[in-house]
C-alpha cells in the first residue's frame, strides 16, 4: 500500500462536508422538510451545518421543537435566541397541548415526557404535511442506532421497522416517500460525541449555559445525580426532592439536555469548551449511560421507542 499523497480533508472537514451533502439532498429531494431543533448541542451543530450548506440563502426548511414543557429554561431561551439570530422560522409544538387534546396521557404526574414527544411530533408532521424531519441523532449514541440509515423510512404511523429499511450505497440517498409516509434524515449519523465537541470548539459555537460546569442543588438517587427544584419557564419549580432526600450543592454540567425529568448531569469542573473536549477524551462512561435516566431501564428501550415513532 502506498502512503498518503493526495490532499485529504481533516476528519472534521470530512464529517462537515458529508453532513452538508445530506442536508442538500433533503432539500433537493423533499418537498416539505423540517429541521428538528431542540437547543441541544447536536442540533446547534446542525444549524451551523445548515448555514454552511445554504447561506447566503435562507434555509429551505423551518426549524421545529417538540417541547415537553419540562425543558431547562436556559435551553428554551437559547433556542429562541438562536432562531431569531438566524432569522429562520421556528415552530414550537408542545406535549402539553397533546395532553390537553387527550392524545398524550401520562401514567402519573411525574412520568418522563420524553417518549411522549413521538405523539406530538407525529401530530405536527400531519399538521404541516412535512415529508422529512432532519434530526441530529448519531449512530454512536446507542446500540440500536448503529444500523440506522442516514435516510430512515417511517410508515404512515411514524413507525420504524428495522426489517424494512432501504439499503444505502455510496452516497446515493433515497429520500422518496409516498404521501403520509415520512423520512427521518440524520446528517451527523457518523459523528461521535467527541466529534461534536471538537466541532463546537473549532467553530466557536455558543451553547446554553447548562452545558458548562455550574453549581446547582441535586440529590443522589440510585447512584445518579438528580437535579432538584428546577425552575420551569413559567417560574414554577419542578423535580422536587422526595421526603428524606438530602439536597447538596454540586458542581455539574450536562452532556445532553432534554426533558428535565430524565436528563442527569455529571460532576465536572469543565467550564469551557476546551476543558469539555479534554474531559470527553478521558471520560469513562458513555453519554447515555451517564445522563439518560430513562435508557437504563432496558438495553433495548431506544429501539422500542423508535418503533413507536421516536426520532
Amino acid at each position: 500500500m502506498t502512503t498518503l499523497t493526495k490532499q485529504t480533508l481533516s476528519h472534521l472537514d470530512w464529517l462537515e462536508a458529508e453532513a452538508i451533502h445530506i442536508m442538500r439532498e433533503v432539500a433537493g429531494q423533499c418537498a416539505n422538510p423540517v429541521l428538528l431543533f431542540s437547543g441541544g448541542k447536536d442540533s446547534i451543530c446542525m444549524l451551523r451545518i445548515a448555514e454552511k450548506a445554504f447561506r447566503p440563502g435562507r434555509f429551505p426548511f423551518p426549524l421545529m421543537h417538540i417541547d415537553t414543557g419540562h425543558n431547562y429554561q436556559e435551553v428554551v431561551e437559547f433556542r429562541d435566541k438562536r432562531a431569531a439570530e438566524l432569522g429562520e422560522r421556528l415552530i414550537v409544538r408542545s406535549v402539553e397541548d397533546s395532553m390537553k387534546r387527550g392524545t398524550v396521557v401520562l401514567k402519573h404526574e411525574g412520568e418522563s415526557r420524553n417518549k411522549h414527544q413521538s405523539v406530538t411530533l407525529l401530530e405536527a408532521i400531519e399538521e404541516f404535511g412535512f415529508d422529512c424531519c432532519i434530526g441530529g441523532a448519531r449512530r454512536d449514541e446507542e446500540k440500536a442506532r448503529a444500523k440506522e440509515r442516514i435516510m430512515s423510512f417511517r410508515d404512515e404511523f411514524g413507525q420504524w421497522d428495522p426489517k424494512n429499511q432501504r439499503p444505502e450505497l455510496w452516497n446515493l440517498y433515497n429520500a422518496r416517500a409516498h404521501k403520509g409516509e415520512n423520512i427521518r434524515a440524520f446528517p451527523i449519523s457518523n459523528w461521535t460525541e467527541m466529534d461534536v465537541w471538537q466541532y463546537i470548539e473549532r467553530e466557536g459555537l455558543e451553547l446554553p449555559s447548562i452545558y458548562f460546569a455550574h453549581t446547582r442543588p441535586v440529590v443522589m438517587r440510585q447512584g445518579a445525580i438528580v437535579p432538584v427544584n428546577v425552575p420551569l419557564v413559567s417560574g414554577e419549580l419542578t423535580n422536587l426532592p422526595k421526603a428524606g432526600e438530602e439536597i447538596i450543592d454540586l458542581q455539574v454540567r450536562f452532556r445532553t439536555v432534554g426533558d428535565i425529568s430524565c436528563t442527569a448531569p455529571v460532576e465536572s469542573d469543565a467550564d469551557t469548551v476546551e476543558k469539555i473536549v479534554l474531559e470527553t477524551a478521558t471520560t469513562t462512561i458513555t453519554e447515555r449511560g451517564a445522563t439518560r435516566l430513562d435508557d437504563q431501564t432496558s438495553e433495548a428501550s431506544m429501539e422500542q421507542r423508535k418503533k413507536e415513532g421516536y426520532f
Binding site: D13, K147, L172, E303
Partner: protein, 424 residues
C-alpha cells in the same frame, strides 16, 4: 472555516470487515475498540452482565458489536452496522456486514463506502469458498486495499508455516481475480496479538500491526488524479433577501465527487454543454480559492446559465461520457425479483432517469465465479445487465470513478432501493 485544514492527523478512514460466521469478526472489532480505549466503562459492565447471563467466564468482546433486540434474541446479526473509533491521529468508521443468506447484498452495501477491507480467515480452516466470495465482492466494488487477516493463530501454535501456506493459497486465486494490492497479517483477535499491540507470540512476523496498517492506509479512494465532477444538488437564488447585492446571486450547490477545481478555471455544464468560467467558490457564503475532492461547496459562474438539480459541472478539458444506454454489473437487493417488463428509476449522482432492461448477459455464481445464462434476477444475484435510459447520464467507468460510475435502482411503486449497479 474556509480551505481545508492542514492537519497533523490522517483524516478519516472507512473500512469493512468480512468473514464467515465464527471467524472472529466481532471479536476483532471488539478488540480494536477495546485496545484503542473506545469502549467506555458502562458499556463494558453491560457486556459483563450479558456474558454472565449467557454463562461465559471471560468478557465476550464480540457482544460489543451485537445490534438490535430481535437479532440479539435470535443470536444472529443481519444488515450493516457502523462503529467508530479514533486513535487521536485518525478517525475510523467500520462497516460491519455479517454473513448468512443476505450476505452478498449486505457486503456490497458495506463495501460501497469503504476504502479498505479486512478479510478474515480462520487459521485452522485456511482459504475457503467464502474467502473467495468476499474477495471477489471486495474487488467488484473496487475497494482499493485488501488486508487478509489470518485469525486464531493461537489455535495453530502461532505457526508461521500455517500463515505462509494460507498466504500462498490466497495469492494464487487473487491473481486470477486481478487483485493487486493485498497484504497479509497473522493475528489472534482473542488474545490481542498483532491487533493494536504486537504481543509476544508472533515474533517471527516483522510487519506492522493491524492498527499500524490502518493508520498508514490512504484515506482517499483513488491515488490517481481524477477528473473534476460536480453534480448539482441544489440551486441557491436568494432574490427575496433584503440585500440587493444578492439579487443576481446564483449559487450551484453540491459536493466535489472527484478531482479539484480553482477559481478562474473553464468548466462545462451538462447536459447543455455550455461553457463558462468559475467566478467564485464558497462555503456558507465565504469565498475559498479552490475546492478539493469530497468537499461540499457552492460554485458561482461567470455567465448566466440555466442550471438545475441533476445537471453536472465538469472541467471543460476532461468530460464524462454522455450516454443513453449503460452496460453494468448489478447486485440485486430486493426480495422482489427484477422484472424485465417493468420500467425502473435509476438514480445516478443527483440525477434520476427512467430505465428499462435491454439485456441480461449472465449472472455470476459468487462461489464458483461461473457465468450462468439467466433472464431473472433474485435477491443477492450479481449479473451483467444493460439498461436503456429515457434521458442521458453523464458517466465514467466505475473502475475509474466510483461516484460517476455507480447508481441505484429504485422501484417507483414502493420507492424502495432494489438494486445497486456499477457501470463499465
Amino acid at each position: 472555516m474556509s480551505a481545508p485544514e492542514k492537519i497533523e492527523d490522517h483524516g478519516l478512514l472507512r473500512f469493512l470487515t468480512c468473514g464467515s460466521v465464527d471467524d472472529g469478526k466481532s471479536t476483532l472489532i471488539g478488540r480494536l475498540l477495546f485496545d484503542t480505549k473506545t469502549i467506555l466503562a458502562d458499556t463494558l459492565s453491560a457486556i459483563e452482565r450479558t456474558s454472565q447471563k449467557r454463562g461465559m467466564e471471560a468478557v465476550d468482546l464480540s457482544l460489543l458489536t451485537d445490534g438490535l433486540q430481535a437479532e440479539r434474541e435470535q443470536g444472529i446479526t443481519i444488515d450493516v452496522a457502523y462503529r467508530y473509533f479514533s486513535t487521536g491521529t485518525r478517525k475510523y468508521i467500520i462497516a460491519d456486514a455479517p454473513g448468512h443468506e443476505q450476505y452478498t447484498r449486505n457486503m456490497v452495501t458495506a463495501a460501497s463506502t469503504a476504502n479498505l477491507a479486512i478479510i478474515l480467515v480462520d487459521a485452522r480452516k485456511g482459504v475457503l469458498t467464502q474467502t473467495r466470495r468476499h474477495s471477489y465482492l471486495a474487488h467488484l466494488v473496487n475497494i482499493p486495499h485488501l488486508l487478509v487477516a489470518v485469525n486464531k493463530m493461537d489455535l495453530v501454535n502461532y505457526d508461521q508455516a500455517v500463515f505462509e501456506k494460507i498466504k500462498a493459497d490466497y495469492l494464487a486465486f487473487a491473481a486470477q481475480l486481478g487483485i493487486e494490492d493485498v497484504r497479509f497479517i497473522p493475528l489472534s483477535a482473542l488474545n490481542g496479538d498483532m491487533v493494536v499491540d504486537r504481543g509476544e507470540a508472533l515474533s517471527w512476523y516483522k510487519g506492522p500491526t493491524l492498527l499500524e496498517i490502518l493508520e498508514a492506509a490512504p484515506g482517499a479512494h483513488s491515488e490517481q488524479a481524477e477528473a473534476f465532477r460536480f453534480p448539482v444538488q441544489f440551486v441557491c437564488r436568494p432574490q427575496d433577501s433584503a440585500n440587493p447585492e444578492l439579487h443576481d446571486y446564483r449559487g450551484f450547490m453540491g459536493r466535489v465527487e472527484s478531482g479539484e477545481l480553482a477559481v478562474g478555471e473553464a468548466v462545462t455544464v451538462l447536459p447543455s454543454g455550455r461553457e463558462t468560467r468559475v467566478k467564485d467558490i464558497q462555503i456558507g457564503g465565504q469565498s475559498i480559492p479552490a475546492a478539493v475532492s469530497e468537499q461540499s461547496v457552492t460554485l458561482l459562474l461567470e455567465d448566466e446559465i440555466d442550471i438545475s438539480r441533476g445537471d453536472m459541472i465538469v472541467r471543460s478539458a476532461a468530460q464524462p461520457q454522455v450516454v443513453k444506454q449503460i452496460d453494468t454489473t448489478v447486485c440485486w437487493l430486493a426480495e422482489t425479483p427484477l422484472d424485465r417488463a417493468r420500467t425502473y428509476l435509476i438514480r445516478h449522482t443527483t440525477r434520476e432517469v427512467k430505465a428499462k432492461v435491454a439485456s441480461i448477459d449472465y449472472r455470476v455464481d459468487v462461489n464458483t465465479l461461473e457465468q450462468q445464462a439467466t433472464d431473472k434476477l433474485q435477491m443477492n444475484d450479481i449479473a451483467r445487465v444493460s439498461f436503456k435510459l429515457a434521458q442521458p447520464l453523464f458517466i465514467d467507468p466505475y473502475s475509474q470513478n466510483r461516484a460517476t460510475g455507480a447508481f441505484i435502482v429504485i422501484d417507483e411503486s414502493t420507492n424502495n432501493t432494489i438494486g445497486a449497479g456499477m457501470i463499465g
